[in-house]
């Protein structure tokens, strides 16, 4: 320790105190920033789903509804990514970007149609909404919760309308194959399905769900192109899985809030 005259020591002490005070303040600030950074890494809790109970429903009609489109979704990054690299050399021509987007979309739409055509021949006779509705009905029947479940291809007639406690309308807007993995490129069956339950004659919706249903098994696209029986089986499987999913979600929501 250095010995200093009193005046020098008090001056040095004062500087030391100021420095320590500054360090403390900076340290507090840095700790606060670090805590906020960590807080920023976490996400907020997901909101709880809301539903109205419908455990009084014993007789149910499942009605298929809407149009269904088969598609093979590639999520291709090319040629758009290459266009972006080229356009980086021409920053003064911003009008080229929307044009590049259009060309990208056009090329990929044509690709998608081509891929869809290669598998559609083997499944022309499949009725996706009917398969989903039948699978949903089977799953609901197995629960033992319902006295009667029937599936309808069209809206019930006037005299038939009050037979059921509720109707579930089932839609399958799109279904087919979707790329789910990169390197290697793998695809899986998928079905987008929607269902909503309402009491007949009231228009009151008591449950609704949208489900992106994806097959757990993934294959190269060629497997579907080369073997039509395989493609057909995989697509039937995913539609049945979609029916089970809708049924599970409907049953899960049945006593919500009880």
């Amino acid at each position: 320790m250095l010995l200093c005259p009193d005046g020098q020591r008090s001056s040095a002490d004062a500087i030391g105190q100021r420095t320590r005070s500054v360090v403390r303040r900076i340290r507090s600030g840095v700790v606060a920033v670090a805590l906020l950074s960590l807080w920023g890494c976490a996400s907020t809790p997901a909101p709880a789903p809301t539903a109205r109970p419908f455990d009084d429903v014993r007789r149910l009609a499942i009605i298929v509804s809407g149009e269904s489109a088969l598609s093979v979704v590639g999520h291709d990054a090319e040629p758009g990514r290459t266009f972006d690299e080229i356009l980086a050399w021409y920053p003064t021509k911003p009008w080229m970007r929307p044009l590049a987007d259009l060309v990208h979309k056009g090329i990929n739409r044509a690709r998608e149609l081509g891929r869809t055509a290669t598998i559609s021949g083997s499944i022309d006779d499949l009725a996706p909404r009917t398969i989903v509705a039948a699978s949903m009905a089977r799953t609901l029947r197995a629960s033992g919760w319902f006295d009667e479940i029937r599936t309808l291809e069209r809206e019930p007639t006037a005299e038939d309308r009050w037979r059921d406690d509720a109707v579930v309308r089932v839609m399958v807007p799109t279904w087919g194959l979707v790329r789910v993995r990169e390197d290697p490129d793998l695809v899986a069956g998928f079905a987008e399905v929607r269902g909503y339950l309402m009491a007949p004659g009231t228009g009151v919706i008591r449950w609704e769900a949208s489900q992106d249903v994806t097959a757990p098994e993934q294959f190269p696209l060629d497997a579907f192109k080369k073997d039509h029986d395989f493609a057909r089986q995989q697509l039937v499987d995913i539609l049945e899985r979609a029916g089970q999913r809708l049924a599970s979600e409907l049953m899960y929501a049945r006593s919500a809030g009880r």
């Binding site: 500054v22 900076i26 840095v30 920023g40 990054a77 033992g144 789910v180």
Partner: protein
């Protein structure tokens, strides 16, 4: 002169920020508020022990990689703890009593997949979250296996503007779907009730 006190703090800050950039921890879970009483409540209330929940994933160090920089995506708690908690929530919500001794039935689970994948499109990104849980129900008194079933939850989501909060939503939803299938499975209801049920629906 640089104050010496700042050096360790700066190091902590640098490591914190670097950690945030390289590894992201997601607070994935199955909150009790989101659980409903379902078909599983049809079985008479039973004493249920959740014994082993084991991790059978091929890659256990992370659940995914970040699309931009390849950094790890991990869960803030071990995946087996998340699944054990989710099973406990479902059992409790459906009126069964969680016990550690003298159980009527014992559940064991293996987490086979708990993963987040991303497929990069041109102006969009598609996430696929997957949770596969193999569940075994054993009679607590005889040790007989009453049911073995695999529950698969998959969530697929396409986004235009990628955001870290989407990763958690995708995994949360995948787990919730697996749990909802479990809670509405008539065969599981029979097994928890103590009987070996014929398969009413194929394993998903």
């Amino acid at each position: 002169m640089r104050p010496r006190g700042l050096a360790p703090v700066s190091l902590v800050l640098a490591l914190t920020l670097a950690g945030c950039a390289m590894t992201t921890a997601l607070d994935v879970g199955y909150p009790e508020q989101g659980a409903n009483r379902a078909l599983l409540a049809s079985a008479a209330p039973r004493r249920v022990q959740i014994s082993d929940v084991v991790d059978h994933r091929m890659e256990t160090a992370r659940v995914g990689t970040k699309p931009k920089d390849g950094g790890d995506i991990v869960t803030s708690r071990p995946v087996v703890d998340i699944v054990r908690e989710a099973l406990g929530v479902e059992m409790s919500k459906n009126r069964h009593v969680l016990v550690s001794d003298r159980p009527d039935v014992v559940l064991t689970a293996a987490v086979e997949v708990f993963r987040l994948d991303a497929v990069q499109g041109y102006r969009s990104l598609q996430y696929v979250g997957e949770a596969i849980i193999a569940l075994t129900v054993v009679d607590g008194s005889t040790g007989d296996t009453l049911l073995t079933r695999r529950y698969v939850g998959i969530r697929r989501r396409e986004v235009d503007k990628p955001d870290e909060s989407q990763w958690r939503e995708v995994l949360d939803t995948a787990l919730a779907r697996a749990m909802h299938d479990l809670a509405t499975d008539p065969d599981l209801v029979a097994a928890v009730g103590g009987s070996r049920a014929p398969s009413a629906r194929p394993a998903t």
